[in-house]
Structures are given as structure tokens and as C-alpha cells.
């Protein structure tokens, strides 16, 4: 039996996605920049994918820049926007719980003389719109807030932040890391007032090494990769045609009947949380006092008192249940999870937290299996807890 609960780390590739990729790799393998028919055939896949992706965001195909994945999308958005708007100011606003692929480029910008404000979040992992507004300065060039947090599944008030920024009408760019949100929510950047939006392919059953950055028409960014001038010069490099074709197909599939699929996920999440909350010394993080629908449908963060997350993780793997540890082993990684700390998880639980994450392929049985596995290993591991 196998129950894969690590979909926030990566997902399996949909069979249809694999098929189309194989076809592109073996038959329609041309370089989209080549002038001959083979090149044109390849280019068609890019166009088609861009159309599908644009359709899911209700934007124009030309606003889609294909990248190698979430990390590149975030880097391109932040470094590219900063470089393209040097006179707009040197202040950036973000939160304390962003992914390293946002925090690290920002740290780099700090070295380059930028000033970055890192906003706190509440116990459910949400930033206050008011705090964002208060942090804005005359020289603020960019606000970067994630849509869904990857560790605890909190959903940030993107719509409200976008509205607030539009109301102020100061031309501040708004970047949203939507890597854990795309394919779970209908996202319309135009409506939300989002200028840049990062997406990764392998979180939505497309292959690793794929993703895109939405760049709103009129927003200027500078490239971070230089070369043959593909994609309007914003992102040089021969396009990953099979990957992009796969990404388009995955997006098409995942957005079919999205509402129903999401409801199913919430019901599974609810079941799982209920089961966890009956167990002694077990806490579900970032769901306190809010409706389940205010959290992401697929991510559940659970702390198990007195148990090292890594041991628990291996014990669950033995039962065929695959999860992530909220943070790695503290002896070797002194920097425990920033998100867990930021939402106020007790120090003693930082190294005792696991993330269970689902996808639309997760079913009732798997949830039951995961619950059964937790119930089985918990007392065994607790017997050997260091007191």
C-alpha cells in the first residue's frame, strides 16, 4: 500500500502529460526558433500551452514567460523587476514566511543596497493587509506576498492587498508567489491587481523543470538569463518544448471541474484534521478559529509532541505513507523552519512537525491509510521518547 502525502514537494506526472511529452521529444523535436516546418511545429506547442495557461489566468498569452520552474520564476520576478525599475525606489515589502526562492533573491538585493521589510504573520500564518499598507514608503518599488504558504497551507489576503495597492495608485509592483496556489484556485491576476505571478509545473502534475512567470502587460522586467533572445529577450534559452507542452496539458486537466475537486480536497482535509485532533499530544497548525475554507485545501501541518519529525517520517514511510518534515534535523540544520517559528509554534514542537500534502489524485482510502499509520506508529515512537 502506498499513500503519497508529499504533493506540496512534488506530484506525479499525469499520464496524458507524459504521452504528449513523449510525442514532442520523439517526433516533434524541432527547435521552435528554427525557420523550417519542424521548428514551426514545435512553436505550435508553445503557442498552444501559452493559450491554455493564459486561459486559466484570464490573461493574454504574451503575458506568460516560460521558465525552468518556481525558483526561476521568483528570481526573475524579483531581480528582474528591481533591475528594470531602479528609479522607482529601493524598498521592498514581503513577509517572514516566504519560500527561500523569494527570501534569497531579496537577501541578494539587500546586499545591492535595497531595503526589505519582512512582515510578521498571525498564528494562522496570515499577514495583515494593514501591516502591508503601513510598511509602504515613498520609495517602495515592490510588494511580494505568497498566495499559499508551502509549509502550513495558510492563504494570504492577496485580493485585499491588491485592492489596497490599487487604491493607493502609487505604481508599486505586486508579485505573488502562487506556486502552491496555482491549480487549486482560479486566479485572475488582472482582477487581483497582481503584476507578477510565479507558477511551478511539478506541483500540478507536470514535469520538474517547468513553470512560468505571469508578467502583466506593461510591466517591465529585465532578464536574468542572457542569450539567444527567445521569449522576447526576457528569458533566453531554447524553450523546453516537451515540458511546456506537458505543463499546458496538466493545467488544462487540473482546471477542469476545479470547484468540485477542491471541495473533495477540503472534505479529505477535514477528515484528516478531525482524526488528528482526537490523538493525544497532536496539534494541527494554522487552522485555529478559522473556517477550513480559509486555508489551502491540500496542506496540513501537524505537530507530534515528543517525537522527532525525522523519526516519525521514516516510521510512516515504512508504513507506505510519504510526508515531509516541517523542518530538518536540528543538529545539522540550526535554521529551523522560519514559517513554523513565525506562526508561533512552540520551540519544543519545531522539530516535531510534519507536513501532509494532498493532490486531486489523493483519495479517501489514502487518507484512512495515513490516519491508520499515524495511529500505529505514534504509541510505538512515544514509548522510545527521550524524557
Amino acid at each position: 500500500m502506498e499513500a503519497y502525502f508529499d504533493n506540496a514537494a512534488t506530484t506525479s506526472v499525469f499520464p496524458e502529460v507524459g504521452e504528449i511529452m513523449r510525442k514532442v521529444m520523439e517526433q516533434d523535436y524541432g527547435n521552435p526558433s528554427s525557420r523550417h516546418t519542424k521548428g514551426m511545429e514545435a512553436e505550435q506547442y508553445l503557442k498552444k500551452a501559452a493559450e491554455i495557461l493564459a486561459g486559466t489566468l484570464k490573461c493574454q498569452p504574451k503575458e506568460i514567460i516560460f521558465t525552468s520552474g518556481g525558483t526561476e520564476s521568483n528570481n526573475l520576478a524579483l531581480l528582474g523587476a528591481a533591475a528594470a525599475n531602479p528609479r522607482a525606489g529601493k524598498h521592498i515589502v514581503t513577509t517572514r514566511i516566504e519560500h527561500p526562492s523569494v527570501h534569497e533573491p531579496l537577501a541578494y538585493l539587500e546586499q545591492q543596497g535595497y531595503d526589505v521589510t519582512y512582515l510578521p504573520v498571525d498564528k494562522n500564518g496570515r499577514v495583515k493587509v494593514r501591516d502591508v499598507e503601513d510598511a509602504l514608503r515613498d520609495d517602495t518599488v515592490l510588494v511580494s506576498v505568497m498566495y499559499v504558504n508551502n509549509e502550513v497551507g495558510s492563504v494570504e489576503p492577496i485580493c485585499e492587498i491588491g485592492r489596497m495597492l490599487r487604491r493607493k495608485n502609487e505604481g508599486v509592483l505586486f508579485h505573488v508567489d502562487a506556486i502552491q496556489a496555482y491549480g487549486k484556485y482560479k486566479i485572475q491576476p488582472k482582477k487581483l491587481g497582481v503584476s507578477l505571478l510565479s507558477v511551478s509545473g511539478h506541483k500540478i502534475h507536470a514535469p520538474k523543470g517547468t513553470g512560468f512567470l505571469y508578467v502583466a502587460d506593461g510591466v517591465k522586467i529585465k532578464p536574468i538569463l542572457f542569450g539567444g533572445g527567445q521569449q522576447g529577450g526576457v528569458r533566453s534559452g531554447t524553450e523546453n518544448v516537451p515540458g511546456i507542452a506537458g505543463l499546458g496539458e496538466a493545467a488544462r486537466k487540473i482546471y477542469q471541474d476545479l470547484e468540485q475537486k477542491r471541495e473533495k480536497l477540503y472534505s479529505l482535509k477535514n477528515q484528516f484534521i478531525q482524526a488528528m485532533q482526537t490523538l493525544p499530544g497532536v496539534t494541527v497548525n494554522a487552522v485555529e478559529g478559522i473556517a477550513l475554507e480559509e486555508t489551502a485545501p491540500h496542506i496540513i501541518s501537524v505537530s507530534f509532541e515528543g517525537i522527532k519529525s525525522e523519526v516519525m517520517l521514516h516510521a510512516l514511510a515504512q508504513e507506505g505513507v510519504y510526508v515531509s518534515s516541517g523542518s530538518a534535523c536540528s543538529t545539522h540544520h540550526p535554521e529551523l523552519s522560519g514559517t513554523l517559528k513565525a506562526i508561533g509554534v512552540a520551540d519544543s514542537l519545531l522539530d516535531s512537525t510534519l507536513r501532509f500534502s494532498m493532490s486531486f489524485l489523493t483519495g479517501q482510502e489514502q487518507v484512512q491509510e495515513a490516519v491508520a499509520a499515524v495511529e500505529k506508529v505514534l504509541p510505538v515512537l512515544r514509548r522510545f521518547t527521550k524524557h
Partner: protein, 393 residues
């Protein structure tokens, strides 16, 4: 003219009538290591040394590196073979050799000669003098220094003639297969792979046993041990790696015995199990990476307590090494980077805060009596369910 290598060995020169066995073992190991690089080589024994003749193109660095890993070889010299050893052609060939090997020809040198062809018209001292003056004439920048020259130019006159000047250090030690087989207790740490390397250096074949404690140790920790075994097998040759699931035993000890004695008692069971597998596999001893005083379980009292359960000799090649000395060897043999990957001790549950550093044997034995009920079956189970991984080397 063509390329060959002259390999010298030190210790096996003194092994009397068994000498040919050692030399054959050495030739076999040289062949085994050369098989893995591009090119085709002929390995022949000749009067107390080994000649390796290259039969096609090869990469010099790769070849020297490959032969540099063969235990028993004390030095490696790339030599040029001169088939026509008639004096005029010999001097020209040696001159060409100097020209080819040294771009900057402003060094001091001394010619050394060995002559086994006693019919050759020049004696060794004559070859040295005449060759020296020929080279001085041909390369004006050279000078002779008979006491401490920059370069020794060796000329050997045998059936053919040979010239060489560069000498690379070999791995030393004795050829594998000349001293039986031992069972290495391999962990993912820095020390035990080095211990395995060192015992193999004395001509000992190595098998290994690893104690796996899922879920307290991860699959990655096990993979790390497999990687380490692969790395040392470049020196030690094929290794049969036994992976023993130790979780049940560990938990049973944890429940039954005083926690400060955990490590000692665990190690005693590891030794017992390793010894059992060693005897089954025809090993003549156990090998550990222990070094006196490094940790609580390696004080002399602790070592005595673990040693107590062993009937086979336990070899501890690192016993008097400092940590840094061990690290230096680990870096040299390429295991250090793997050893320091952090998968190993993520789970410190089974390590007591204050382990005994001076265990008293009678006390430990008494504690072990509490395990009497189940431990026999558990050990049998662990032995029966062990996984065997063949590391090719």
C-alpha cells in the same frame, strides 16, 4: 620507442619462497585496476619488478592514478622503452626523452644506470659518464650535479633499454589477497571506512557489516554506507556488505537495561552479530574504526567491555590515530565528503545524556541478563533477515 611503466615493490621482495604468490597477486591487482581505464595493458613480472606495457593510447594521469591505488606498489615510473639499444641510437633516444619530458632544460642532473645485459659494450659507470656528456653536449642549459641533482635520469640496459626520470609514489602496503579476509564494522562515519582501507592496505580482503535501525536511521543513511563501501572498494576490491536490521534489539535493550549502558550493550551485540557473520564468511578477524578516547564508548574500559564478547581477534588500525590524522586519510581516499553528510545521527534517542565511560564488566554482564528472555531469538532473526549487497569494487 614506446611507453611503459616500471612498478617497484618493497616488502614483498623479502618473502622467500612465497614470493611468486605475492608477485602474482600484485600483477593481478594491477591488471584489475588498469581494466577500468581506457587503453590496453600488458602486465609482466621481471626480476623483482613489474613492467606494464601500454598496447594502445591511454591517458597518463589516469594510468598513474589507477596504479597508485594498488596496494603493494611502492613506486610507479613512466618509462620509455628503447628497442634498439645500440649505443648511438640509445644516446639519441635518451636525448629525445629529455627533450620531450622537460620543456625547460636548465636543470642539474645525474645519469644512473643499471645493466643486466652483461654483454653490453659499456659498463654501468661508463654509460653514466658517456650519456652525461652526450646530454651536456646536446642541451647546453643542463649541468651535472652528482650529489643533489634536480633530476635523476635512469637508464636500464636489459634485453631492451629503458629510460625514465619521474617516480610517483605508490600506495604501499601489500597486495590484496595475500593475507586473508576480515569483517569490517562499517558505519556512516569518518573512521570505519578509513579502518577498512588501512586493513586492506596490508593485503587483507574486506567484507563489511552495517547495522540499520529504521525508522531511527533513514534509508539515506544506509545509502550513504553503500556509497562508502563503493568508495573504499576502489582500493579493497569487491566487498560483500551485510545490512543487519538492529531496531528490535536496540529497542529491547532500551527497555530492559540502564540507559547509560545502552551504547556499550548495543556495541556488544553488534560485535556478537558481526563475529557470527565473520565466522560464516571465513573471515579471520573483525575490524573497527575505534580510536582510544574518541568518544565514551571508546575509552579503554569501554573497548575492553566490547572486546569481551569477541573470540575472533579485533583489529583496530586507527587505535592511536588523532581525529585529524583520520580525516587526512579519509580525504586522501575520497570518503570524507560522503562521511560528513548529515543523515547519520539524526536520531539521538538511543544515546544517553551521560553514558558510562568506565563500564565495569561484571555490571554490564549482569544488565545483559535482563535480556535473556528474547535476545537469542532477536539475534537469530536479525541474522536471518539481513540484506546482502555485493559491492563490485
Amino acid at each position: 620507442m614506446y611507453q611503459a611503466f616500471l612498478l617497484k615493490y618493497a616488502e614483498i621482495g623479502i618473502k622467500g619462497k612465497n614470493r611468486y604468490k605475492f608477485e602474482n597477486a600484485l600483477c593481478e591487482q594491477v591488471r584489475r585496476h588498469l581494466e577500468r581505464i581506457d587503453g590496453s595493458f600488458r602486465v609482466v613480472r621481471e626480476q623483482g619488478r613489474i613492467f606494464v606495457e601500454a598496447e594502445e593510447d591511454f591517458d597518463l594521469e589516469d594510468a598513474v592514478e589507477a596504479m597508485g591505488r594498488v596496494f603493494g606498489v611502492s613506486s610507479i615510473s613512466p618509462v620509455t622503452v628503447i628497442e634498439d639499444k645500440e649505443w648511438d641510437s640509445l644516446t639519441k633516444a635518451v636525448g629525445d626523452f629529455v627533450e620531450e619530458q622537460y620543456r625547460d632544460r636548465t636543470f642539474s642532473f645525474k645519469v644512473k644506470c643499471r645493466r643486466s645485459d652483461k654483454g653490453y659494450p659499456y659498463t654501468s659507470p661508463e654509460v653514466c659518464v658517456e650519456m652525461g656528456s652526450y646530454l651536456l653536449g646536446r642541451f647546453p642549459g643542463l649541468s651535472v650535479d652528482v650529489h643533489s641533482p634536480d633530476v635523476f635520469i635512469w637508464v636500464e640496459v636489459r634485453e631492451k633499454a629503458y629510460v625514465y626520470s619521474k617516480v610517483y609514489r605508490g600506495a604501499g602496503g601489500m597486495p590484496l589477497g595475500t593475507n586473508g579476509k576480515a569483517m569490517l564494522l562499517l558505519s556512516g562515519g569518518i573512521d570505519s571506512p578509513v579502518a577498512g582501507y588501512m586493513i586492506a592496505k596490508r593485503g587483507v580482503f574486506v567484507d563489511a557489516v552495517y547495522f540499520h535501525a529504521p525508522p531511527y536511521t533513514s534509508e539515506r543513511a544506509k545509502q550513504k554506507v553503500v556509497d562508502l563501501a563503493n568508495q573504499i572498494s576502489r582500493y579493497t576490491g569487491p566487498i560483500r556488505l551485510h545490512v543487519v536490521n538492529f531496531t528490535e534489539i536496540q529497542m529491547y535493550i532500551y527497555e530492559q537495561c540502564p540507559h547509560e549502558e545502552l551504547t556499550i550493550i548495543m556495541r556488544r551485540y553488534m560485535m556478537r552479530i558481526a563475529q557470527h557473520i565473520a565466522e560464516e564468511s571465513g573471515c579471520l578477524g573483525l575490524v573497527t574504526g575505534e580510536s582510544i578516547g574518541q568518544v565514551a564508548s571508546q575509552t579503554m574500559q569501554s573497548l575492553a567491555a566490547t572486546n569481551d564478547v569477541c573470540e575472533l581477534p579485533v583489529y583496530r588500525p586507527l587505535i592511536a590515530f588523532d581525529k585529524q590524522e583520520i580525516v587526512d586519510v579519509a580525504e586522501k581516499i575520497g570518503t570524507y565528503e560522503t562521511s560528513i553528510q548529515p543523515y547519520e545521527d539524526c536520531c539521538t534517542i538511543f544515546v544517553a545524556k551521560h553514558p558510562v565511560t568506565k563500564p565495569v564488566l561484571s555490571v554490564i554482564r549482569r544488565s545483559e541478563e535482563k535480556l535473556a528472555e528474547k535476545i537469542g531469538d532477536m539475534v537469530t532473526e536479525a541474522l536471518e533477515t539481513r540484506e546482502i549487497i555485493e559491492i563490485d569494487g
